[in-house]
């Protein structure tokens, strides 16, 4: 699904914020991304949601070398990615319904399908009676749920989330992690950046630990065992 080979990222002429990033995410995998503040998690995510191109190295996504792909070819690739931003990035002038519907409209889906899917998903995340409400009148948790719904509405092949449960209470946070698990079982590759060690231990997925611009993979023992037993 995603392969980083000696990838580096530099902003302008400054030092590299990411150096020799080497890892791969297999299709259908589920990983957490952790690391201290300033380690480069957001930069790494920006490469993965194709917000930037690496300044060196090889980044392969969906079987394509990203450095060699034209701008026009990037748009369809981005449509396969769902992104939950830490600051939500909802469009303030659009209702919750229209925010969630946006990725489907960008893909040109019929309005009937959009209406049905968005209604269902907003109900599921507990915002059924907030469909036509503007984000600026919602709580942080509600906005986060809208943001998550928007990211998953297209059933993306890759879902990236930056602190998706940060503003949510335990119950909603657990439900949303179960939603992510459900999507993962349906084949979506998932990477969640988080500081929540409790959630990491609870769900037990492998970790990508980012430190000083470099990544190492940590796979929990029980996960390894399950892998060897062929559970995955």
């Amino acid at each position: 699904m995603i392969r980083f080979e000696h990838v580096g990222l530099r902003y302008g002429i400054g030092p590299e914020v990411l150096s020799d990033i080497d890892f791969a995410l297999e299709p259908g995998s589920f990983h957490f991304l952790t690391g201290p503040s300033g380690a480069g998690k957001t930069s790494l995510l920006s490469l993965m949601y194709l917000g930037r191109r690496p300044t060196r190295g090889l980044l392969t996504m969906f079987g394509q070398n990203i450095n060699g792909v034209s701008r026009a070819q990037l748009a369809p690739l981005r449509q396969r990615i769902g992104m939950v931003f830490q600051d939500y990035r909802l469009l303030g002038h659009m209702s919750a319904f229209d925010n969630v519907a946006l990725p489907l409209r960008i893909q040109g889906r019929p309005e009937k399908e959009i209406k049905s899917n968005v209604h269902e998903l907003l109900e599921w995340v507990g915002l059924g009676d907030h469909m036509h409400v503007l984000p600026n009148t919602m709580s942080g948790g509600q906005q986060q749920r809208v943001s998550i719904a928007r990211a998953v509405i297209t059933r993306p092949r890759l879902l990236l989330a930056d602190e998706p449960t940060g503003n949510l209470d335990d119950e909603i946070g657990f439900r949303l992690m179960n939603l992510f698990d459900q999507l993962n079982r349906m084949g979506t590759t998932i990477l969640i950046a988080t500081h929540d060690q409790g959630m990491i231990e609870r769900f037990g997925h492998p970790k990508l630990v980012l430190e000083a611009g470099r990544v190492r993979v940590e796979e929990p023992k029980h996960w390894l065992a399950r892998k060897m037993q062929g559970v995955f």
Binding site: Y49, R53, R71, L91, I106
Partner: protein, 303 residues
């Protein structure tokens, strides 16, 4: 404020952006000026056409008041010579018709320069014959002039060519200036629209980037700006055309009241009115294309 059941029209809040009224006003002014410039060009074209056709195959035979030896002829002598010249001309096959201009008619001609109420019977005015020919070739004119000189050596034929050529050159220059002005107005409109679009893209950079990251093609994003620019430009152009039409009607009425045939006639024909009526659509198209190109150029800066 919390509810938003309004019909969705934009992914980007362009209709809420400041400066929309300014752009409408600017386009209205540009369209107004373009309309006046084009109308002026049409009027000049009609005027030159009228002059040219009016003088086509028409010449004036003149028997000057001064004889070849410099002696000033009396009014009776001029009258006699004019009558003889007229007889000579009417006998020529090239001549369709002649009209000997009366003293009153000649007085009217010189009135703009000499004023009215002058004792013109005491002024040595030339004898003038308006001659209509089958054609005005140099050979014909030369033949007629030779014929006239047998009557009066100082007589001559005025084809008005020199005067008309100068005038046509002048009006041609004015028409060129009007067309040039229209082009400059068009360029100014393009610049204004491009500037407004860039400004809006800067204001809504975060939203544009979000659409871009969600996989919106450049054309999806540009269509939003195209539509917005089209609507604003069309509104402005309609206002400009209406203001221009009212102005032209007023000018046409005033020039009609003045009744001076030398001036351009600002009363336009059906085809010309139709051409001006198309201006709002043309302006809207220019604005749409400009918006598209501007947006695409800015989006190229994004990865």
């Amino acid at each position: 404020m919390g509810s938003a059941r309004e019909k969705r029209s934009y992914d980007l809040p362009l209709n809420k952006s400041p400066g929309a009224g300014f752009l409408i006003l600017l386009v209205a002014l540009m369209t107004f000026l373009a309309m006046l410039a084009l109308a002026s060009s049409f009027a000049l074209s009609a005027m030159t056409s009228r002059w040219s056709s009016g003088l086509e195959n028409n010449v004036t035979a003149e028997i000057p008041a001064a004889a070849a030896d410099g002696r000033i002829l009396s009014a009776d002598e001029i009258k006699t010579l004019t009558a003889r010249a007229n007889s000579a001309l009417t006998g020529n096959a090239s001549v369709v018709s002649t009209h000997v201009m009366t003293g009153q008619e000649i007085a009217e001609l010189v009135k703009p320069w000499l004023g009215g109420g002058l004792p013109l019977d005491k002024v040595p005015l030339p004898g003038l014959i308006a001659v209509k020919l089958h054609d005005t070739t140099p050979k014909t004119v030369k033949t007629l002039e030779s014929l006239l000189k047998t009557v009066a050596p100082q007589a001559r034929i005025d084809t008005h060519e020199e005067w008309l050529t100068d005038l046509l050159r002048f009006t041609g220059a004015l028409q060129f200036a009007a067309v040039l002005l229209t082009l400059v107005i068009g360029l100014t409109t393009v610049t204004a629209v491009a500037g407004a679009v860039r400004s809006r893209m800067a204001v809504h950079h975060a939203e544009v980037e979000l659409l871009h990251l969600m996989g919106a093609h450049d054309s999806y994003i540009s269509r939003q700006f195209q539509r917005h620019s089209l609507i604003l430009a069309f509104k402005g152009a309609i206002c400009g055309v209406l203001a221009g039409a009212l102005s032209l009607m007023a000018i046409g009425w005033i020039s009609g009241e003045m009744g001076v045939n030398l001036l351009p006639d600002f009363r336009l024909g059906g085809g010309q009115i139709a051409a001006l009526a198309v201006l709002p659509a043309l302006v809207a198209i220019i604005a749409t294309v400009t918006a598209r190109q501007t947006v695409l150029k800015v989006l190229e800066q994004m990865p």
